[in-house]
Amino acid sequence: MPFAHAIGGTRYGFPDLKTLLARATPPRSGDQLAGLAAGSAAERVAAQRALADLPLRHFLTEAVIPYEADEVTRLILDRHDPAAFTPVAHLTVGGLRDWLLAEADTASLAALRPGLTPEMVAATSKLCRLQDLIAIAAKCQVTTRFRNTLGLPGTLSTRLQPNDPVDDPRGVAAAILDGLLLGAGDACIGINPATDNVDATCRLLELLDGVIQRFGIPTQSCVLAHVTTSLLAIQRGAPVDLVFQSIGGTEATNTSFGINLALLREAHDAARSLKRGENVMYFETGQGSALSAEAHHGVDQQTIEARAYAVAREYAPLLVNSVVGFIGPEYLYDGKQITRAGLEDHFCGKLLGLPMGVDVCYTNHAEADQDDMDALMTLLGVAGVTYIMGVPGADDVMLAYQSTSFHDALYLRAALGKRPAPEFESWLERMGLDAASRAGTLPLTPALLGLT
């Protein structure tokens, strides 16, 4: 066996890197469903010890999915920057964890990004407790720009998510107004459309653009339709700020989403050609999507999730978020598993250089509730999460799941001394929105949004 470690007289062997990574992964239902999880707590810690001793250089010689078989693997290895890797090239995985905790600072972490592969980062996360995931991520600073600046130190942004079950423009407008009154929307105002077609998408884009222009809001819009729909909308001359796409960490997962790297490049270039802003992509990810698409190649769900971040960073996105609790209990069973996965995803995304947000969320068949969401969002706030979602009353009436509310972001900013993006904060002050919503007045006239 290439990798092995003995615990209490029992020798545990691991035939290859992907098996070692899977067995070292803290417990979660998706890896158990896939038959990849460690069979015992002792086997898991044996794998973690073997992983800790593995030189980082090994990740450049053994791919978890073959180079020839997967364009995401090719992207990862072709983009690896040996010069940026130099400061940690002599380290093991365990040594990298220690270095990240003890030595690394914001500047050295920024310089290191192109030298790290997703698998190195995922491996390191498997050796980390929650406090390590938080402490290391908090040192990372990732700043992106469109109409405002996201990710500056001391800021916490929100995506205003005004979904409507039938894309009713009045329902969407009412939720937007409610969110703005409660200080939400600096990351973007982003709608998941109920119907993914170009007509509906263009109508929603016009609505969002109208709101942003009418009130002079320093933020950006997004309709989270399929990338091919957004391309059609661009061709029609619709006001597209951000192009959205769900992405995964294997070529086959992306095929199941109807995308590939070339298509993402085409969409990125089309959006940039509009010259509306600098960072033009918005990606969503989530552990378990590869297994769900039967496209995981025997790799654990957290490692594949980190590989999706290599896809994301290729296109310099404005925003990336893991929709961590959306996929259901067969992948992340309860609040404990969702919490750990959310912090892992944020940690891996930030180390790889992404403006990482998290949709702190759950479905009604998961063993989770509002207390779990309060805990996770607070931990993520301490870790410096770039943004969270803002949904009216935490209840998404279109997607039928529970995320974070406008109120949650107000709580989190107050509890941790965080502020919105500076341009957006100035706008909130200029409009007097915080004072108004406390006093119960309405400086944004609903009639201006067609709500009479």
């Binding site: 939720a175 009604n364 949904v391 009353g393 509310s405 109120h407 406390r438 609903p446 709500l451």
Partner: protein, 249 residues
């Protein structure tokens, strides 16, 4: 402040979303907080609800159709939630028993708990009472009925294969949301056999009082079943004709 001013409260006229909840500092006012907790509690209880098979069988008795009871390999709700693969497989004894009473060419009805037994308990018998006369009028006499516990949609494939059915309609409880905990879906599959993919099914969802009523759903299902028989297939092929369904609503 917890009194939401009229102008803000008026936003509620435009949406079912939880807008204009007011503020208690940065938090939710108590009433809005407890409204949410109540909705979530109901949804949680609905997920963990169980089918009352005796009542369901009694409700279906007037239809005069043979009824079988089966269960998936998921032995309890926790196992069901963790192992969707087991929820798609019949217990061996049930598979053997069904295979011993085949109904070649039958239009099989499976009533399954899915993620919300309450949803199917509340709507299945009303739907069947409306559906059976429609199918009889189309000379597509349905049955038998199979009641399935800890079942995923694809369990209908193995049930239909074991009984040699021509097609299977799976009536199944839908994942409860905060606003609806009594919703049922229907998945129609032509030529059921293990390994069928979701693209080979047609789906009707949100069947409940206040959504698609059982009578409306029965009319749509009867049309779909006739179309599936005419084409010898279900799924994406049938979907192309879906606009026709609007006329039946």
């Amino acid at each position: 402040m917890s009194d939401v001013p009229a102008l803000w409260r008026d936003l509620r006229r435009h949406t079912t979303a939880r807008v204009a909840l007011g503020r208690a500092g940065n938090g939710l006012p108590t009433a809005a907080h407890l409204d949410f907790q109540e909705a979530h509690a109901r949804a949680r209880d609905a997920v963990w609800s169980a089918l009352d098979l005796d009542r369901l069988e009694a409700d279906c008795a007037p239809l005069g159709l043979p009824v079988h009871r089966v269960a998936s390999q998921a032995e309890d709700r926790r196992n069901y939630l963790l192992r969707p693969d087991l929820g798609r497989r019949l217990r061996e004894a049930d598979a053997t028993r069904l295979a011993r009473s085949p109904t070649p060419g039958a239009f099989l009805i499976v009533v399954a708990d899915g993620l919300c037994a309450e949803g199917v308990q509340a709507n299945a018998s009303a739907l069947l009472a409306a559906l059976v006369p429609l199918l009889n009028a189309q000379r597509m006499a349905p049955g038998p009925i199979v009641l399935a516990q800890q079942a995923r949609v694809a369990l209908g494939d193995e049930i239909g294969e074991a009984m040699q059915a021509a097609m299977v309609a799976v009536l199944i409880g839908e994942r409860p949301g905060l606003s609806a905990t009594d919703s049922m879906g229907i998945y129609l599959t032509w030529g059921p056999r293990r390994g069928r993919r979701d693209a080979e099914r047609n789906c009707l969802s949100n069947i409940r009082p206040g959504g698609l009523t059982p009578a409306e759903a029965a009319a749509k299902l009867a049309w779909l079943m006739q179309a599936a028989m005419a084409r010898g297939g279900s799924g994406v092929a049938l979907k192309d004709e879906a606009p026709t369904l609007g006329l039946l609503a």
